[in-house]
């Protein structure tokens, strides 16, 4: 199957007959988990991801006394793939979470200043937990889309007079002011394409994941895969990501 996918790509075709820059069908549902402050389910082809946003109270980091806390984790649950094993997050899960963390943090998607309760002492914390339900390729783009949708749906838990959370009651929405979209541009030889299936993922030379904000600025980037990327191809990959990000953003409410 893998060799077949490779042969097709080299001949300008894909295993599921898509165009090189065409994504599989994307379905986004938000507020799918009642117990979370925000959540979203994304299906991208047969890849499925759920993201839950939980909010709590914490102590700000000493170097950012006037900002809330953001934490992103990913679980590659064993139900999602025969290759995922139970236990603490592996290298790939850690990397995925950190790429999504940077995309959200660096683009200043969340207004972190609005999460302060007492400067330097008490702030709200935002936990984004990414749950992979079915891995059929392109987890990162699907998870980033789910994380953004979950944040956009998140409500702020209500606080009592002492600044403690009253569970089950809410006051307004989490202030989400940007919409970064992550597009991973895949490379096999001189061919570039998007949204790889699992078969296509196994034959990639390399992949460049690029987070783009709504004003077409780049806010995070990560090269993946075990081969290098020709320097002269980078600009084209960036262009593809910028253009596709505009289209994907329209799917997010």
């Amino acid at each position: 199957m893998e060799t077949y996918a490779l042969e097709l790509i080299q001949n300008g075709k894909r295993i599921d007959k898509r165009e090189f820059t065409q994504f599989r069908n994307i379905e986004i549902k938000d507020s799918v988990i009642d117990t979370a402050e925000g959540s979203a389910y994304v299906r991208m082809g047969n890849t499925q991801v759920i993201v839950g946003v939980k909010m709590g109270i914490g102590t700000p980091f000493p170097d950012t006394p006037n900002e809330g806390i953001l934490s992103v984790s990913a679980e590659f649950t064993p139900l999602a793939s025969p290759e995922f094993e139970s236990g603490p997050p592996g290298e790939d899960a850690v990397e995925l979470a950190r790429i999504i963390d940077r995309g959200i943090r660096e683009s200043k998607t969340i207004e972190m200043e609005k999460l302060v309760i007492t400067p330097g002492e008490k702030v709200r914390s935002v936990f984004i937990d990414i749950y992979i339900i079915d891995n059929q390729g392109n987890l990162l783009d699907a998870a980033a889309l789910a994380a953004l949708s979950a944040l956009l749906s998140a409500r702020m838990p209500k606080l009592d007079v002492e600044g403690n959370i009253i569970r089950g009651e809410h006051e307004g929405k989490l202030s989400v002011v940007h919409k970064p979209i992550t597009v991973s541009v895949c490379k096999v030889g001189d061919k570039l394409f998007l949204d790889p299936t699992k078969e296509e993922e196994s034959i990639l030379d390399a992949k460049l994941s690029i987070a783009v904000s709504e004003d077409d600025k780049i806010c995070a980037m990560q090269k993946q895969g075990s081969k290098g990327i020709e320097f002269d191809m980078l600009e084209k990959m960036i262009d593809i990501a910028i253009e596709k990000s505009r289209e994907l953003r329209k799917l997010v409410k």
Partner: protein
């Protein structure tokens, strides 16, 4: 860590540590200082100091980790507890897990691992003093260590950081610049193949700025590459 641009890091074109925007810190390279290893190197960029050593090629156990057709590269990047101002608790964390992975991927494309079925080449990077740009310093060191271990390589791997501070595009960010930058990019290239093997960016950049930074990174790596070659020649010239 949120990026702030209100810190004055660059005044009339001169950085706080007296450097020009496109100037690296003083770079030092030493090869073969760890005799117990098959290859080793120490590279410093200003106050950032990375030690790297290579063990192997050696048999890989447990056997289920072996690849029947090729050898594998394993990399551990680690920061010493005393390498930073506030002691870092020892052992791997999420950051070092990710950096270990991207370091491995940065070096792997330069190696001929097909010649080594069932074995492993183990690379270790220890940051003993940190002042920004640690991962790229580590990659430069590990690249030299691999070469000095005699591992067949297509070319050396050369890495540097670039970024934007107070609106200016700069190379080789130190710790303070890194913490207060508008954007930073970690970059590695296999120069003779023109292959980019590490590319990580965070911050906010226009496409034009990003392209300029990539060109700047490539030019800077060219200089560092010459230093790496010289360091190797210096060490091994006259040896049979």
């Amino acid at each position: 860590m949120t990026k702030k641009s209100d810190t004055e890091l660059i005044i009339s074109g001169i950085r706080k540590d007296k450097r020009l925007p496109e100037q690296t810190r003083e770079i030092k390279m030493k090869i073969g200082n760890i005799v117990s290893a098959n290859g080793s190197a120490e590279v410093s960029f200003g106050n950032t100091v990375a030690l790297a050593s290579v063990h192997g090629p050696r048999p890989l156990f447990p056997r289920h980790l072996q690849e029947s057709q090729k050898g594998i590269l394993r990399v551990r990047y680690n920061m010493a507890p005393f390498s930073v101002v506030d002691r870092k608790s020892p052992g791997p964390d999420r950051r070092s897990t990710e950096i270990s992975k991207v370091t491995r991927l940065a070096l792997e494309p330069a190696l001929f691992l097909d010649d080594y079925p069932k074995v492993t080449v183990d690379g270790f990077v220890e940051i003993i003093q940190a002042d920004g740009s640690t991962r790229v310093t580590g990659i430069n060191a590990l690249s030299l260590a691999l070469a000095s271990a005699g591992i067949p390589m297509k070319d050396l791997v050369t890495a540097c950081s670039v970024g934007k501070i107070n609106g200016t595009l700069v190379v080789d960010l130190n710790g303070e610049e890194d913490n207060n930058s508008e954007a930073d990019v970690a970059f590695a290239i296999i120069p003779n193949r023109n292959l980019v093997s590490l590319l990580q960016m965070d911050g906010i950049l226009t496409k034009e700025e990003l392209i300029q930074l990539l060109e700047l990174a490539k030019r800077t790596c060219k200089k560092i590459y010459e230093m790496q070659r010289e360091a190797l020649l210096e060490k091994y010239k006259g040896e049979e």
